[in-house]
Amino acid sequence: MTLSLDAPRLVTTQPLLTARDVSKSYGAVQALRNVSATAYPGEVLGIVGESGSGKSTFLRCLNLEETPDTGSYTLDLPDVQGNLFDLDRFGRRMLCAKRIGIVYQNPHLGLLMTHSSSGNVAERLLIAGERSFATLRAKARGALEASEFPLERMDAPPIELSGGMQQRVQLAKAIALEPALLLLDEPTTGLDVSVQALVLDTLKRLQAERRITMVIVSHDLGVIRTMSDRVMVMRRGEVVEAGLADQVFQDPQHAYTQQLVHAKL
């Protein structure tokens, strides 16, 4: 029995994020093939799959960095209408600055490594139109504090910080404007397990306190299982299976998912 996205509904909440039939090719390589996903307000959607499965490409589409060949993407927010893939460059930049936050695996993608950490966070606020220095400083400090960044280092450039601290700066930048959607691309890959646990704990706390909807991509099944309400399994650009996290891990339906789950140490 497969459950479709359109199963009969009891609770009447609308999904915050709806992506339908997203396809993307790079030359002869089809990176995404009709990928559809939903995420409800406050929910954590985990995406797993091997390298090259298209999970990061899909996340970049959700961050409006990539434009797919076909497909639609909507966010159920006031003042946000229509297919977001149709937005122009300026519209995308504003929407991403205000409503969508992202944390990359590689901090070099998300941060200016030689500018101050507080400045990196403030840049977000500047794009959104904030001009008062005092407010910029106060808001940047608040976001860094919420990300559990040691405030005495807030003016140090990320290049001088450890990997875990750099991820916290990225996180502070992502939540500086209280986004509705937080995208996480392998946020703890490369961190040692104790730092990984701390970063995941911060994310869980933020999710519980602010009810931010999150989409987290990782090849680490443990991270996905701990963090997610629902899980989507991707392989070769397609979704092979999606369901509640405990169901996908305990009763995987697809041959590939079974292989993946059983391979976990």
Binding site: P8, L10, A208, L244, Q247, Q250, D251
Partner: protein
């Protein structure tokens, strides 16, 4: 009267792709359950008792049949409901008590127990107070409340698990051997809590290694042993 649960012709099998075959866990199970009723599942090892509980909770997907649950929002078939509805029901109406604690690293015992209340909208301080009350009721030592349960002994972990699972009264409670690894006083505390919940109308379905522990609560039993196979006689093992 509408039943809390109306299970109709429920079947579950597992497809094991690497072996290229299907394994039937149970088939064609039907029963109903009313508010405040306690149903005991019996059967040999492998008869599908835990599988049935997990299928009702939607950790496993049903192969065929219906699981009609009377929620506060109306009736819904748990076998087919949207994931988001299941998540919602798990937070507010359907509880599952297992013998395993799912502890996140670096989360204290009291925070873990308080979490269901916080998710249900209770203020942080109130939730913590109530969490401490239940930790104490199940016999977890005060020194351990702010510590990480990942470092606890099996029995202590199970007490934290029970406090968390039973802190929020539910309409339907699924119990998968919750008395395993508990000492006598914790077992007594568990039976008291279950009796209170039952009296307040919670419907329960349970699997117990030692059904004697909860004998006073049992209203009905279902035996899942496939027909034609000898029933297990002994009282002390593998019910």
């Amino acid at each position: 009267m509408t039943h809390v649960l109306d299970v109709r012709a429920l079947s579950k099998s597992f497809t094991m792709h690497h072996l290229g075959r299907r394994m039937q866990a149970f088939s064609d199970i039907s029963f109903t359950l009313d508010a405040g009723e306690f149903l005991l599942l019996r059967g040999q090892n492998g008869a599908g008792k835990s599988t049935l509980l997990r299928t009702l909770y939607r950790s496993y997907l049903a192969g065929a049949g219906q699981i009609l649950f009377q929620s506060r929002h109306g009736q819904i078939d748990l076998a087919r409901a949207a994931d988001v509805d299941i998540t919602h029901l798990r937070r507010s109406e359907i509880g599952f008590v297992t013998q395993f604690l799912i502890a996140r690293p670096r989360v204290s015992a009291e925070a873990l127990v308080a979490e269901p209340l916080r998710l249900a909208g209770k203020a942080s301080d109130e939730a913590l107070d109530e969490a401490r009350h239940w930790l104490s009721a199940f016999g977890v030592k005060r020194d351990l409340w702010p510590a990480y349960p990942t470092t606890f002994s099996g029995g202590e972990q199970q007490k934290v698990n029970l406090a968390r699972a039973l802190i929020l009264p539910q309409c339907l409670l699924l119990l998968d051997e919750p008395t395993a690894s508990l000492d006598v006083s914790a077992r007594a505390a568990l039976v008291r809590r279950l009796a209170d919940l039952k009296a307040s109308g919670t419907a329960m379905i349970g699997v117990f290694h030692h059904p004697g522990d909860v004998a006073s609560l049992i209203d009905r039993e279902i035996d899942l042993t496939p027909k034609g196979e000898p029933q297990e006689e002994r009282e002390d093992v593998a019910f």
